[in-house]
Each structure stands twice: as structure tokens, then as C-alpha cells.
């Protein structure tokens, strides 16, 4: 690339051997010999400047469970408008974040989809004292995509046995709390043995929702917060009764290694205010255990 860009530079005088080289080569050699060092320095400086700039107080790095994909994005834009603090959001499975934080990932806050991972981080001494807090209760839904003939809202668990169902998507139970809860609900439904060969596993609950939304899985067990977003589009969903799985009590912790402790605490305080609670509510999150009314969709 550099060579090509610099090919038009004027060719300096060269020794005899070099005069025999074709013109194109000659022109191209010049920058390799004379400018590569300068170019390299310029590049290193230009790349290094943003890296060396000190951490800004008006930024927060937030690791959020994938079920918060849409809710947290809304929360972040509302908070940014109000406070001027920029939130860098990263979404993934809670188990993945748990591993990354143990390996030194520089997050300020960790919104988990359960309470186990925050507790384990606390036991590992990675959590700022007295910051663990429950922020929401997650809910599982059985969903099919918009153009599907399947309607889990009508046929509930039986829709899994429909002959049109080739793949059933759940999140990876090994590191995604929603996957763990989905597996538990499937086992409690009594259908697990019949359908276990049709299961496909999303890396996190957002990817699982994408499997269903794209029609690659005909049905899936998803987070209600994801199917309530406009991106998911109209589908058919049945809210799985709360008794069939252990409640998804979702906790947040501020991390000990954080360089922005005050900003982190301020955001944690803000998510308890009415505008923030309204956003949580919009995406189906509650603060107490969910009731059993199915969502009409």
C-alpha cells in the first residue's frame, strides 16, 4: 500500500546497477528505501495518539447480558442525553463476561443475566464493595418468527412437536443464564427427550433470537426483552410459566478495577429512577417475580 501511494515520488540518483531496473520498479523502490522509516514513524504516532490519551472521566465501559441488547441501548441514550456521560456497551453471554473479567477485561459495570456470576466475581474479590444489586427479573418466552404457521401462544409446549419444526434454538446453557433456564424449562415440560436432537445453541440469547427471527430455527426459547423490540419484528410468543424454571434474577456489580467508580455509581443510582424504570418496563422486565398472564401478540 505505502509503495503504491508513494510511487509518484521523485526518484533520487541511484548506482549503476539500479539504472537497469524497469522504471516502475525504480519509482517504487524509492519510497521503500527512503520513506518507509518516516512513514512508519508517522503511522506509529498517529495510531499511538488515541491510545495514549488519558482515560476520560465521562465514559463508562459496560458489559451487559445479551437480553439487555435493546433495553440497555435505550437506557444508554437516555442517560447520555441527560448526563453527558458516554456509555460504551458490549453485549454477550454472562458466562463469557465472567471469564473475560477474570482475565482482566476493563469493564466498569457488569449487568449479568443471573446472580450467580456476580456472586462468583465477588467471591474472587473483583467486585467493588456493596455494589451488587438486583436490577430486573428476566422472563422466558417460546417464540416463532413472523411468517411462521406455528403459534406457540395457542399451542404452548406442543408447538415443539409440530412436524414443521426442524430446529429449536436456545442459548448455550454452559455460559448463558437464559440457556440454562430454557433447558430447565424444557426438562420440566417433559418434552426434552423427544426434542433434544433438534436443539441448536446460540452463543448468547441475542444470537438465539437472531436464529429464530431469521427462520433458521422454527422456534426458540428467548428472552421476552428481545422479542418486545421492534428489531425482532412481529412473531408469535408464549410466556413460559414462571414455575417451570428457576427465576432469572439479574444482578449488576461495579468492578473493583474500574477507573470510573463515581460515574459507575451514579449510573447505578440513575437506573432506579422513574425514567429508567419505564424503559425496563417497556422491555418486559419487572422488579418482582413475573405473573402468569400470557402476552398477546
Amino acid at each position: 500500500m505505502f509503495v503504491i501511494l508513494m510511487a509518484s515520488t521523485k526518484m533520487p540518483e541511484g548506482p549503476q546497477l539500479k539504472r537497469r531496473l524497469p522504471t516502475l520498479l525504480k519509482a517504487a523502490i524509492a519510497p521503500v528505501r527512503f520513506s518507509s522509516l518516516r512513514l512508519l514513524c508517522a503511522l506509529c504516532v498517529s495510531v499511538a495518539i488515541p491510545l495514549l490519551s488519558p482515560a476520560q472521566q465521562s465514559q463508562l465501559n459496560i458489559a451487559a447480558a445479551a437480553d439487555l441488547k435493546f433495553a440497555m441501548t435505550d437506557l444508554a441514550s437516555a442517560y447520555e442525553k441527560q448526563s453527558g456521560v458516554h456509555l460504551n456497551l458490549t453485549f454477550g453471554s454472562s458466562g463469557n463476561f465472567f471469564a473475560q473479567i477474570q482475565n482482566g477485561a476493563p469493564f466498569d459495570l457488569f449487568f449479568s443475566a443471573d446472580s450467580d456470576y456476580p456472586r462468583k466475581l465477588n467471591e474472587a474479590g473483583l467486585v467493588a464493595p456493596n455494589t451488587a444489586d438486583t436490577y430486573a427479573i428476566g422472563k422466558l418466552v417460546l417464540s416463532s418468527p413472523a411468517n411462521s404457521t406455528l403459534d406457540p401462544f395457542k399451542s404452548n409446549w406442543q408447538s415443539l412437536l409440530d412436524p414443521s419444526v426442524k430446529k429449536i434454538a436456545i442459548a448455550n446453557p454452559d455460559h448463558a443464564p437464559y440457556g440454562r433456564a430454557a433447558l430447565e424449562a424444557l426438562k420440566n415440560s417433559g418434552l426434552y427427550e423427544k426434542i433434544k436432537d433438534k436443539l441448536v445453541f446460540g452463543d448468547n440469547i441475542a444470537q438465539t433470537a437472531q436464529f429464530v427471527q431469521s427462520g433458521n430455527a422454527q422456534v426458540g426459547i428467548l428472552a421476552e426483552s428481545l422479542i418486545l423490540s421492534p428489531s425482532f419484528g412481529p412473531g408469535h410468543s408464549w410466556k413460559i410459566p414462571q414455575q417451570q424454571y428457576s427465576p432469572l434474577i439479574q444482578s449488576v456489580v461495579a468492578l473493583k478495577g474500574s477507573a470510573h467508580k463515581d460515574a459507575a455509581l451514579a449510573f447505578l443510582a440513575w437506573i432506579k429512577t422513574p425514567p429508567a424504570l419505564a424503559i425496563f418496563k417497556k422491555y418486559g422486565f419487572s422488579k418482582s417475580l413475573p405473573d402468569e398472564h400470557p402476552i398477546p401478540r
Binding site: V3, L43, F232
Partner: protein, 222 residues
């Protein structure tokens, strides 16, 4: 667009570092008579065949706060190397190493040994021979190495995902951003980034082939 900029920064930096480090290595690989050289050749080629997860896994452990590299970095700069841009640069340098070394070695080995001998007999030092004879004559190989390294780093995914951790502005490169967009059902955004990357990759490769062909033809006709 922040992701695209970050990927370009990474690719530029990795290409620059690799050009400096890989050229002496390639020179040595091409001209050394050491019998166990094949072992080094195998090590250099490893990233070509290793799953990115293997490299990513070991790098993550090594660069974490309990790993040797991470500990060193922690002592020097106050933070571990994993999940930082610097960590990403290091990982990419290792992962793209064969893409820089192999074209260089191939073009060094193709040189006419008589020219090199003539240069030495006429009194040019080894360094001068390298700068005035070897490098100019290997230019197509150098261009190939630069473009392949750049393009490969630009398109890297697995290693970046494992050691980068998808942090906006620090480690969320363009390929990670595409993965993120698809997961979030943001197909328009995913499509825009993917098309951009597709176009860039095509232009880069077309440049390699076009330039190499031109250089080759002119050289032969001389």
C-alpha cells in the same frame, strides 16, 4: 465507522511492525544453511493451520493478569494486556506472521545467486547488497507481503474475539462489529460494513495481482 477506523489502525500498525520484524526473519529463512531450519519454518507457518481459537486461548491466558505477558504489562503500564488495543496488535502480529514472512521468503529464494555473488565480489556489504539488490528485485514479494498482511489483519475475527472482548473504540474491529450487528438483527448495518469490507478486500487483492503482473512483465522484457 469507528470500527472501520479501528481496523485500519490495527492493520496499518501490524503491517508496519511485521515488515520490520519479518524481513530479517525471511532473509534468514531464505539464506541460512542451518540444518534444523525447517523447525523454524514450521513454527512460522503454524498460525496458517492453527484454529484461531487455539492461538486466542493461549494468548488470552498469557496476556491476562495472571499470565507472564500480562504480569509484565501490568508492572509496566498498570493494566493487563488482554482486552486492550495493544494486546490486539500483539495477537495480530503473531496471527499474520506467515502472511508477511512467506511471500518474502519465496521471492528472496527466487533471486539469481549470481547477482548476489557479483554484488559481494564488487565490494558491497551484506546490508548494501540487501538494500540495493535483494530488496529491489523482490519488490513483487514485498508488495504481496504488505497487502496480504494488511488484508488478513483487517479481516481477522476469531483471535480478536477471544483476546479483544468486543470493547467499542478499543477492540471492536469491523469483523466483530458485523458479527454483533447480525446477532442484534441489525441487518442493514451488517450489510453496509460487510459490503465495505468486501470492496476493500477486492481492491487490495486486485492491486496485488495487477502490480505483480506489471512488475513481472516489465522485468522479463528488460
Amino acid at each position: 465507522m469507528q470500527e472501520l477506523l479501528l481496523s485500519f489502525q490495527l492493520a496499518f500498525l501490524v503491517t508496519a511492525i511485521l515488515l520490520v520484524c519479518a524481513t530479517p526473519l525471511a532473509y534468514w529463512l531464505a539464506f541460512s544453511k542451518w540444518r534444523a531450519k525447517f523447525l523454524i519454518e514450521a513454527v512460522v507457518a503454524l498460525p496458517l493451520v492453527l484454529p484461531p481459537t487455539v492461538l486466542g486461548f493461549y494468548l488470552l491466558i498469557a496476556m491476562g493478569p495472571r499470565g507472564p505477558l500480562g504480569k509484565l504489562w501490568l508492572a509496566l503500564f498498570g493494566h493487563a494486556l488482554a482486552f486492550t488495543f495493544s494486546g490486539l496488535v500483539l495477537a495480530s502480529v503473531l496471527y499474520s506472521l506467515p502472511f508477511c514472512v512467506q511471500p518474502l521468503v519465496a521471492s528472496f529464494e527466487r533471486l539469481d545467486p549470481k547477482l548476489l555473488a557479483a554484488s559481494r565480489v564488487l565490494g558491497a556489504s551484506q546490508l548494501r547488497t540487501f538494500r540495493r539488490i535483494i530488496l529491489p528485485l523482490s519488490l513483487p514479494g514485498v508488495i504481496t507481503a504488505i497487502v496480504l498482511t494488511f488484508a488478513h489483519t483487517l479481516g481477522e475475527f476469531g483471535v480478536v474475539l477471544m483476546v479483544g472482548g468486543n470493547l467499542p473504540g478499543a477492540t471492536r474491529t469491523v469483523s466483530i462489529a458485523i458479527y454483533d450487528h447480525v446477532q442484534s438483527i441489525e441487518y442493514t448495518a451488517a450489510n453496509q460494513l460487510s459490503l465495505t469490507l468486501l470492496a476493500i478486500s477486492f481492491v487490495l487483492l486486485a492491486l496485488v495481482y495487477g502490480l505483480n503482473r506489471r512488475a513481472g512483465v516489465r522485468w522479463l522484457s528488460n
